[in-house]
């Protein structure tokens, strides 16, 4: 049995890493992974653990001397059980190859946890146990050496590929968040505008109806007063006219009498 281990970090927060873990494949550096399937997934509310069983399908070129032992098929299957522990903030992935495992067994444990010194960084720890079961010691060594070397190469490729996915998802999330924000602001502005418009409309209609009422009141008052005044004037005019007529007729009768008296010489006689 041989061990492989490595440790490095990602410049992304732990939560981002765990979310990206579900969307890790396909990425251009891990083209050997051709399928990822969720076989079982359970949430444990008491411990806040999400446990997932996945089937990872790989298409990997196998060296000729090894494929003679294993048969020609270069599709291999890996089973992975992972746990997201929200309380302890760890993502642990344990995986085992299911193909060719009578010859070679690879058991890998990967743990992601937040960097205690920097919450925007995530520490990645990978450990693998590689065991070859072939009967010749030297063949075993050779297979193990090849596998360790291969594991190291793939681990590096995996990291680079994952970085690519993280970069893509991060910008996508920022965009989405920004869009959501803009949409929210727009909604608020629209609502405010609608409120203002409806308020203005309401006020305008109140003012208009008030103006209408006042106008009609003024008109009816003016009309009332005008007709009263006209009537009064006409009444007064007619009374004045009748007075004038009266006076005229009185004047006429006085003039008549004066004329008669003058004609009759009354003045003369009385002066005598």
């Amino acid at each position: 049995m041989k061990l492989y281990s490595s440790e490095h970090h990602f410049d992304y927060p732990w939560t981002t890493i765990t979310a990206a873990n579900w969307q890790k494949y396909p990425n251009e550096m891990s083209s050997h992974v051709i399928g990822v399937d969720v076989l079982r997934r359970e949430v444990y509310p008491e411990t806040k653990i999400l446990r997932t069983e996945r089937l990872i399908t790989c298409k990997q070129p196998v060296p000729k001397w090894l494929s003679m032992l294993t048969g020609g098929d270069n599709i291999s299957y890996v089973r992975e059980v992972s746990e997201v522990d929200l309380v302890n903030r760890t993502l642990t992935l344990r995986s085992n190859n299911m193909t060719m495992n009578h010859l070679l067994s690879v058991y890998e444990v990967v743990v992601y946890r937040p960097d205690p010194e920097d919450p925007n960084r995530t520490i990645f720890k990978q450990e693998a146990e590689i065991t070859a079961y072939a009967s010749f010691r030297r063949l075993c060594d050779k297979i193990e050496d090849f596998s360790v070397e291969r594991f190291g190469q793939n681990a590096l490729k995996g990291k680079i590929g994952f970085e690519g996915v993280l970069h893509y998802l991060d910008s996508e999330w920022i965009e989405n968040r920004y869009l959501k924000h803009v949409r929210k602001e727009l909604n608020v502005v629209t609502q405010e505008a609608t409120e203002i418009v409806s308020d203005v409309t309401k006020k305008t209609s109140v003012i208009l109806s008030e103006v209408n009422e006042l106008t009609s009141e003024v008109i009816s008052e003016v009309a009332g007063k005008t007709s009263g005044a006209i009537q009064e004037v006409s009444e007064k005019t007619s009374s004045v006219l009748s007075e004038v007529t009266d006076i005229t007729s009185k004047t006429n009768s006085v003039l008549y009498q004066v004329t008669r008296l003058v004609k009759g010489g009354i003045f003369r006689g009385s002066n005598d």
Partner: protein
């Protein structure tokens, strides 16, 4: 050093990355389920808003397809052996393994 870039083989109409199923006939059901799960995971589970798996119905549809595919491809025995060796209940830790379960 290789520079990561963002071109992927399978991208859906919404621009999301699609990861394939080992059984192409299950790709669509997988994509539907994955989309539901990913939004539940980031928006609810990580935010501590929901600790119940909300996409279970979609998962059952997808799982049904997978189970048939496993049988068709003669993979059931292989799966059973792996599950016996490192059970789901034991977090995938192999039997007789001295790793302490946290």
């Amino acid at each position: 050093m290789l520079t990561p870039h963002t071109t992927y083989q399978k991208i859906d109409k919404m621009g999301n990355i699609l990861s394939a199923s080992f059984a192409p006939e299950c790709d669509e059901k997988k994509a539907t389920y994955d989309a539901c799960f990913n939004s539940w995971y980031t928006e609810k589970f990580l935010a501590g808003k929901s600790i119940t798996n909300e996409c279970e119905e979609l998962w059952h549809e997808y799982k049904e397809c997978i189970d048939i595919a496993l049988v068709k491809r003669g993979m059931v025995k292989m799966m059973e052996e792996a599950r016996e060796e490192a059970s789901f209940e034991n977090s995938g830790i192999p039997q007789n393994h001295d790793e302490a379960k946290k």
